[in-house]
Structure formats: C-alpha cells, structure tokens
Amino acid sequence: MDFLFLLELFINGLNTGLMYSLVALGITMIYKASGVPNLAQGAMVMIAGYLLWATIALLGLPLWIAIPFVVVLMFLFGLAIERWLLRRMVGQPVLMIVMLTLGLEILLRGVGPGVFDAAPKRLDLGLGLAPLVVADVFINRAYLIGAISAGILILLAAAFFRTRLGTKLRAVSDDHVASWAVGISVERAIGISWGIAGVAAVGAGTLWGSVQGVDWTLSALLFPAIAVVILGGIDSLLGVFVGGIIVGVLGSVIPGYLDPIVGGGTRDVVTSVLIVLTILLRPYGIFGREDIERV
C-alpha cells in the first residue's frame, strides 16, 4: 500500500514535471540561440491558452483545427517579438534585455485578460476525469497525455537540431560572430528560435489550460519552468527533459511524505532547496555547458 502511494506520487510527479518541461522548452530554445533568458515565456503560454480558447469558443472551430491554427499564430507572434523588440536590443547589456522580457510579460498580462475577460475560461480537450487505474495507482489522464506530448515535443526539438536549419541554430548558439562570418543569418535563426518558443507555448498553454482553466495564472508557470532549466542546465534539451523529471518527481514525492509532518505545502520549498543545492554543487546545471571565462 505504502509502496503504491510512492509509485502514484512518482508517476504523477513524473507527468507534471514533464509538463513543466514543456514551458521550460521555450526558455531553453531562446537561450540556446540568443543567450537571453525569456521571462515572458509564462505570459506567452497564457496568450497561447487564450488564443486557443478564443478560436474554439468565439470562432467555433473544432479542437483539431484550432490547435494548428494557434500554432501558426504563435509562431508568427514569436517571430514578431524578435523582429520588433529583441532585434533592436542587440548589443545592449543582457540584463536590460531581461528587463525588456519582463516588460513584455507585464504587457501581455494586461492584454490577455483585458481583451478576453479576466474570469477563468474552460478549455476542454475531451479527456474526461476518470483516472487510469493500475493496481490502485490512479494516474491522471490529462497529466499522462501532457507528459507524452511534452516528451514528443522535446524529441521533435532535439530532432530539429539535426536538420539543416537546426545545425545553423546550433552554430548561432555557439558563436554569433563566427556564424555571421560563414554566412548564416543570425537574426533569422534567433527569430526562428522565438517562433519555436511560441509553438512550445501552445503545447503548454493547451495542456495546462485544460488542467486549471485559462486565465492569467498560466503565466505563473514561469517559476517551475525556471527551476527546471536551472536544474537541467539552461542550454541543454536533455537538461530540460531530465530537469523536468527531477523537479516533478521530487516535488511530488517529498511533499507527499513531508507535508503531513510539517503541516504545509512544501513543494515550493523542495524546489527552492533543489535549486540552491544544484547551484552550489553544479553551478551550470546537470547538463549545462560551463562557460570558460577569460580575463
């Protein structure tokens, strides 16, 4: 019985962790290409959720058309952000670019609920509430499908880096100037990375929107996503995958046993301690690349 409890915590944690990875994927994509940590990724997830809700509820499109439609919209949206905001900040201190993404987050936080109404919206994927029961272990169907989709998307992203365009992106993430020198359009590569981040946001927005409803709180997914990237290493796709699993599993199993003793929700504490420990032991995350500094 107790073992089954552990197993259930483990599986649900695994699944939610992978769903956090989905949010984290966008951050990693952008960081890999341009070295900018995108603090607006949570807000992009929220916007994707709102757009999907609006396409279904207001335009009346069925889900399977709505998702590709929103994917295209968000890809263009990502491109637009890079073209109109980020590109103009090239060469400025990274901290100021981070501030820019924070400003973008505030703007989107106003636009989403302002335009579509702040009350929570329902996004039904037709998954039903009945859990998948395996020997008294209740597995949340929505989370399971979320985890599978997250896994697929991360695999796709990894595969993408093996294509011609992906190779260019890798070159860009390695060295901007050298890429320029061999004729790669760095701007376009960074733009595409923002577009892909937009697409990842659709995945996260759809799954999390179906779990908790669509409203501005989707943008609060930024914090667990950041925990994932820090743990795994911000420039590593494998890190996103493994980091998500670790954050999810430990954030589910430890509170499962600790909460009754402490009498409080300890998940954020576990995540925080995890981050601090990671940073103290492995400053560049598990799979992150260590920067070599020269004086």
């Binding site: 019985m1 409890f5 259930e8 915590l9 649900n12 944690g13 939610t16 936080r109 106003g110 609920p113 109404d117 702040a118 009350a119 929570p120 919206k121 329902r122 039904d124 509430l129 009945a130 859990p131 209740f138 949340n140 989370y143 999390w208 779990v211 908790q212 409803g213 409203d215 501005w216 709180t217 609060a220 997914l221 954030g251 589910s252 199993v253 509170p255 499962g256 909460d259 009754p260 009498g263 409080g264 929700g265 300890t266 998940r267 954020d268």
Partner: protein, 414 residues
C-alpha cells in the same frame, strides 16, 4: 418696514430655506468600491463589482435614500497594499464615507488607517476574521459570516443532516496561504470537542497542481472533504477530488465556488457538491427582479447581463443592501451630512434586517460586527445552487472565543 418689503423678505427667507433643503436633498453619498480586477481576485471581482454598482443604480433610479443619491469610485488596486492606500486616501479626501476593497492584503493594510481616520471599512468575505469584534475594530464591518463561521456552519450541517460528527474523518484540503490556514485552529478545537478526526492537507499556492495532496487524501479515506481555496485552485481541487473517486456530495467548499467556477469546471462534472453560502444565488427575488427591470433592461447596468443573479453578483448586491440600510438608519437618526462616525452608528443600529427575505436576518451591534454569522449550505444540481439547509449561525461561542483571543493580540502593542 412696509408690509411689502416684509413679504419680500419672508419669501426670500423661505426660498433660502427651501434652497438649502433642496441642496441637502441633492447631496450625494460617495462610496469607494475598489477591487482587484487584475491579479488574485479576478475570478469574481467583476461580478461582485457589477452587483454593487447595479444595486446602487437601482436605488438612484428609485430616488435614492431620503433624497440622497449615490456615487461610486471603482478602481483597480491589483491586490497591492500601496495602491490600495493611495485609492483610500484619494477617495477619503473626495468625501467618500464607505470603503470596500475586496482584498485581504489591502484591507489589512488599511485597518490601522481607518481606525485612525474614523472611516468605515467594509470587509465582507475578506480581511481579518477577528474584525467581528466591534470593541477592537470599531470602524471595520465584516457584516457577513466570516470564514470561521462558514467552517462551523458546514460542520454543524454534517452534525445535523449527515449523520453526526462523532467519529467522522474530515479532510481539510486548503491552499497554503494565510487565507487557507485561517479556519484550522478553530476546526481543531471543534474536533476535540465533537470527537471527530481532522487532518489537513495543504497544496502550495497558486494551486494549479495539487496531485500529491489528493493522492494522500484518497488514502486517508475521509468521510467528508473540505476544500478551502478560491478561483482556479478550487477548480483544480474539485477535478482532483472527482478523479480520486471522492463522491461530490461529500465535498464541502468555502463560499468561493460559484456558477462561473462550475461552468469552468464543466457543469455536470461535480453534481451534488456542497458549499457554504452567505447570500442566495439566482434571480428569483423582488430585489433582483427590480434590478433586471429598472437597471439591466433599461440599459443602465454595467457589464454582462447574463451574470445577474450569480453568486458573486449577489454578494455585491448584499454588501450594498446592508450598507445602504446603515446609511438609511444613520440619516434618519443624525441627518446629513453623512460622516464615518454616523455611518458606523448606522451600521450598529441594524436589527434583524433581511432585505425583503433576500438575506438571513442581519443584526449588527457595537460588539458584534459580523451581523450574527448566519450561513447555510447549498448544493449544485447541474444548473444552479439549491439550498439544502436553513440559515443558521453555528458554534458562535467558539468563533467568538477565537476572535476575541486574536483581537486581543491586535491590541497588544498599543
């Protein structure tokens, strides 16, 4: 002095008297009804505010109170204390007499200020639970059953209608914030007294992911589950409860679970779920009918007509019903112009006010600012909330003991 000039003077004097009378009749009463439209309270703030404003529009349409009309300031404070303080000071300087912010952090930051300025702060369904102690918080009026009274009412309901409390296992699943932890000490006391078993399960704020807590709840095999959250976290709680095979009829919620949330959840997802309520929902009441007739159909309403009669909307109406009753009593006794002190006294003169049967009987005294602490239990039938118990105030001795102890701590530093 000729007769004629005398007459002229008399008429002039009369005219002057009439004019001042008219001027007095036209003096508007200003309310500051600010909300958090953009952050934590987005789940209900728009409806709540709409209810408040629509009811005041109705009063204005019907000629106001003793000829006084109402004017409202409605602003967004984004749940940030410093913005709430700015809005409070601004409205105070512009002559507002009643303040309501529907945000616990803002209300808590304002309490020292209203006590100093002698201004009336309404804290229905938010703020400190111990503000019901009128001696310590003379200018703060929760005016409806607090979270403590809601928790005790739900327990009383189990005791009366669900086979007694003795020996039952109750799981209290709450958001890990001061609001979520609020009723725990009280419930623990009752658990000892009524010999039932209480276990608390916390999920971290903002509550969009609660699976770990609910896996544990299922294994606890509780007889009843209390869910204590608001907005999205309530929706996730109910989903997780249903997913973990808990019978919706055994789930009891705090007051924050309404039509909007059920729509978001899927209307047929949790048929039978119960909640504490302090105001009825629905449109079948003369007051709401009048609002529909004179305000909404006349095109003077603010916002979506579809939400009229929703729980959060009716909470806003109820807040204004009680407050305008206090205004009426204060004006009758002291006459204009209305001040904070007069309004406070007006509130404390409310006796058995039930607003044509819309509310449970509200009695506010100098000691009791809760209005009696009446609440009832209602059940979701797939379309609407149907009451399954009467209005009653439960275990108020315990609530007051807790409130007095807590209020004494508030006074301590002074």
């Amino acid at each position: 002095m000729t007769k004629r000039t005398k007459l002229v003077r008399f008429t002039a004097a009369l005219a002057a008297v009439c004019l001042t009378a008219v001027a007095q009749a036209q003096e508007v009463i200003k309310f500051a009804l600010n909300h958090d439209f953009t952050k934590v309270y987005t789940f209900g703030a728009v409806e709540f505010s709409q209810g408040q404003r629509d009811y005041l529009t109705l009063l204005n349409e019907e000629g106001g109170i003793r000829g006084h009309r109402f004017e409202v300031f409605v602003r967004d404070h984004g749940n940030e204390p410093q913005r709430g303080i700015e809005l409070y000071t601004r409205a105070r300087d512009e002559g507002a007499v009643y303040f309501m912010f529907l945000s616990t952090p803002v209300a808590n930051a304002l309490i020292p200020r209203v006590l100093q300025d002698r201004m009336v702060l309404g804290t229905p369904l938010h703020g400190r639970g111990d503000a019901i102690v009128g001696e310590v918080f003379p200018y703060v009026f929760p005016m409806m059953a607090t979270y403590w009274s809601q928790a005790t009412r739900l327990l009383q309901y189990i005791d009366d209608a669900q086979g007694g409390l003795k020996g039952k296992k109750i799981a209290f699943v709450h958001i890990d914030s001061p609001f979520g932890r609020d009723p725990i000490p009280l419930m623990q006391k009752l658990a000892a007294q009524k010999s039932f078993e209480l276990r608390t399960f916390a999920y971290p704020s903002p509550g969009n992911e609660q699976s770990a807590a609910w896996s544990d709840v299922r294994r606890y095999r509780p007889d009843f589950v209390f869910i204590w959250g608001a907005g999205n976290s309530q929706i996730v709680s109910v989903r997780e409860a249903v997913r973990n095979g808990i019978d919706p009829a055994k789930i009891l919620s705090v007051v924050w679970l309404a039509e909007t949330d059920m729509k978001n959840l899927g209307e047929s997802t949790a048929i039978g779920i119960k909640r504490a309520e302090v105001v009825p929902s629905g449109r079948n009441h003369p007051i709401l009918q009048r609002i529909l007739q004179k305000v909404v159909t006349a095109g003077k309403g603010v916002g979506d007509p579809a939400v009229v009669g929703n729980t959060y909307y009716n909470m806003g109406v109820a807040d204004m019903l009680i407050t305008t009753e206090a205004v009426r009593l204060a004006l009758d006794k002291f006459g204009p112009p209305l001040t904070g002190d007069k309004l406070k006294a007006g509130f404390e003169m409310i006796r058995n006010f039930d607003a044509e049967g819309f509310l449970p009987p509200v009695t506010i005294t100098e000691q009791d600012h809760q209005g009696g602490g009446y609440a009832r239990v209602s059940q979701w039938d797939g379309k609407a909330w149907v009451p399954v118990s009467d209005w009653a105030a439960s275990y108020q001795d315990l609530v007051w003991e807790e409130a007095r102890a807590s209020a004494a701590k508030f006074q301590q530093p002074q």
